[in-house]
Symmetry: C6
Subunit: 80 residues, 6 copies
Amino acid sequence: MDELVPGNTLITATPGEGRALAIKLARLTVKAIQPDGEVRTRLRPTYAEDADSLTAAAHAVAVEFATIAAANDYWRTGQR
Amino acid sequence: MDELVPGNTLITATPGEGRALAIKLARLTVKAIQPDGEVRTRLRPTYAEDADSLTAAAHAVAVEFATIAAANDYWRTGQR
Amino acid sequence: MDELVPGNTLITATPGEGRALAIKLARLTVKAIQPDGEVRTRLRPTYAEDADSLTAAAHAVAVEFATIAAANDYWRTGQR
Amino acid sequence: MDELVPGNTLITATPGEGRALAIKLARLTVKAIQPDGEVRTRLRPTYAEDADSLTAAAHAVAVEFATIAAANDYWRTGQR
Amino acid sequence: MDELVPGNTLITATPGEGRALAIKLARLTVKAIQPDGEVRTRLRPTYAEDADSLTAAAHAVAVEFATIAAANDYWRTGQR
Amino acid sequence: MDELVPGNTLITATPGEGRALAIKLARLTVKAIQPDGEVRTRLRPTYAEDADSLTAAAHAVAVEFATIAAANDYWRTGQR
């Protein structure tokens, strides 16, 4: 299941890594729904130059991050 | 109720399996609302080639995953 | 208040039943806002054949399910 | 503040009443943003006959309900 | 930071005040993104007379309120 | 990972600072998806003068803030 969750864990060392994981999870869902890399590449420019598309993506990432942050108890301990 | 929740449980062995379940749950809701497989198949290409549709789907999956992750206590113990 | 929450409880025996309740709750909200059954029936075909409408509905159901799952402590005990 | 939260409490006797409160809260927010009743009445038909508008409203109600349900500890005890 | 959170606290005496804060927080985010008051005033009529815009705003307020309600432990004690 | 979470922590001294961080996190996600600053600058005017775009952005910020607020235990203690 590594293709859906890298390393198959939600635990990360820091909030920044948790954030990177959140972005990755969202992208991997899109990849699962649209496995054709060429299509995804074709869609990217339009989407990345549309403010509302970017906001929608940022929103989805925020939802992923909420889960990852809870899983890591908000990195309250052991933080650098 | 297996047609809404495979195996009728939210418990999975790993985050990756939880993620796969999240995608499945979202699809099964769509199936419950639109039971006609031909219609769903017809809708798929348009939807899978639209960046905003993909983001919206990824967002819905993220919400499902939040529930599944909480149900599994974020796979904090017994993780591989 | 049975017309908003069937049986007036969030407790269900299994995740699958919780899922069915989530779909039902979302529909009952729509019914509360648009009580005219003829209008709802008229809207249905367009909506059920639009991928983005289906995703939006699945998203709303996911939010309902999150609440129901928490109410049932994720069916962790007493599960079949 | 009764004009934003009826009775100024989130506590209700049953899930059904909690659901009615969720619908009410969402409506009261709209009223706070658009205090002109004539405008709201004018908007209603279009909105109540658009499937996507109804889904969006149902989604917002689901979010309100999540908060109300948590406030009432999901009506786990003292339920009829 | 008073310009983002009035009084720099999420604690309010009642649910109604929490609700008013939720509306305020959402507005202050918009203000932070679009600091030009003239632009915001110009946008208001269109937005306040569009049912979907009002629903979207109500949805965002519901999310803010969820956080404020949790911060106040749902005003379970010390409520009037 | 400082480019995704400033200071690599979710802990802030006050709700207002938490709010500023929420806005920042959302912007940094957008930056991660669209690293070209010129494109982001070009998109800004359209987006900041569209009421629905502003509401959508405020919604995403509200989701980020929910996580940050939980991480800080809602700033219940040690508040100024």
